[in-house]
């Protein structure tokens, strides 16, 4: 599920594809943009008016496949790097995928790279057939040749250099057993630092709330939390949240402590240059 994993489903992808006839004719853009977000560079960048103008900037881009030439202009400008140019017309059982690739090093033409799917899994090898360095956009477009069966799967590549330094992280996660300790902040609250400046822990804060100090100011006065150099920038909201949690008060009714000048620590000598008017 896209909203949970970041991976679009097969059904979502299939809906984007042009008719089989159009697919056989030549390259076309696939816009893997499924969410209404305020963004329209794809439609304004298309010289062929193949992407419908957006009345509402939040519209999901809509491609007219017959107007699309597969030029890739939209893929180079898409801020979400969500546009891919697919070409299934070459014959010989292979097709090409043109994808945005903002990583270093850029692969060279003819280089064999790992073909990677939407989940980050290697699904085969691919040969780089074209590299547009994207001097202006700084979004290089890399075209790779893959078996036709993979043109709707492969969305990323991994070059040799990357493979060595980045083992499959998902695998690592599976290999590590659960730790023996049970995890519950409730029992470890003396290791949770709320006020970094004054070194006040969550346990101290919780003890004070239990004693009846239920405002940020009271806790500050007794514990010094928030009196340090950062003036509660980091801990203030955490203390308010803990008060709200323990008392059941809405967070909005837990008043923050007053803000005073200066907003950053300044030496006494700093002010000696001023003259009173």
């Amino acid at each position: 599920m896209l909203e949970k994993t970041g991976i679009a489903t097969r059904e979502q992808i299939e809906k984007l594809l042009p008719s089989p006839g159009r697919r056989a004719e030549g390259p076309y853009a696939v816009m893997e943009c499924f969410q209404k977000i305020p963004c329209n560079p794809c439609s304004t960048s298309c010289a062929f008016h193949a992407i419908l103008p957006m009345d509402d900037i939040n519209d999901i881009p809509s491609v007219t496949p017959d107007k699309c030439t597969g030029c890739g202009a939209c893929a180079a400008v898409c801020p979400g790097l969500a546009i891919f140019i697919i070409d299934e017309s070459k014959g010989g059982g292979t097709g090409t995928v043109t994808l945005p690739y903002e990583f270093r090093p850029l692969p060279g033409i003819g280089e064999t790279v790992k073909a990677v799917n939407r989940a980050g899994e290697v699904v085969g090898d691919a040969v780089v057939t074209r590299v547009l360095p994207g001097k202006k956009t700084k979004t290089p477009l890399v075209t790779i040749e893959v078996p036709l069966s993979l043109v709707h799967e492969v969305r990323f590549i991994r070059c040799e250099a990357h493979q060595e330094e980045d083992p499959s992280v998902a695998d690592t996660l599976r290999e590590i057993p659960a730790p023996p300790q049970t995890a519950d902040i409730g029992e470890q609250d003396d290791e949770v630092v709320i006020c970094r400046c004054e070194g006040v822990t969550l346990r101290e804060i919780r003890d004070l709330i239990r004693e009846g100090y239920t405002t940020v100011d009271e806790i500050k006065r007794i514990s010094r939390a928030g009196m340090g150099p950062c003036q509660a920038r980091t801990c203030g909201p955490l203390i308010a949240a803990e008060i709200a949690r323990m008392t059941g008060e809405p967070l909005g009714s837990v008043a923050p402590s007053a803000h005073r000048a200066p907003v950053k620590p300044l030496p006494i000598e700093f002010f000696l240059g001023g003259d009173t008017e």
Binding site: R104, K138, R196, E198, G199, G228, P229, T234, P265
Partner: protein, 106 residues
Amino acid sequence: MENRRITDHPILDFSEGEVIPFTFDGKPMEGRSGDTIASALHANGVKVLGYHFKTKRPRGFYCAIGNCSSCLMVVNGQSNVRTCTEPLLPGMKVETQIDRGVPDDV
């Protein structure tokens, strides 16, 4: 030691800045022009900048914009210098801070 400086980046150009020598707890180190004290230390693999005066817990770089107090160090004898925003200058004597510190001429 791991090299933490990015040399090849797809979007940004990081030119090799001028070398700036300094010391950390007496050890000679090198930063680059454009570095803050904390960024130079980070480039040299230094993670612990001080210890909290009360809890004695180690403190490191945290906000990087001068908001918090995590990066306070002793610089040229002056305590409580916010090293994440203080530019690195040649010959600086940077030391781990373990207490509240004192004014520089005490």
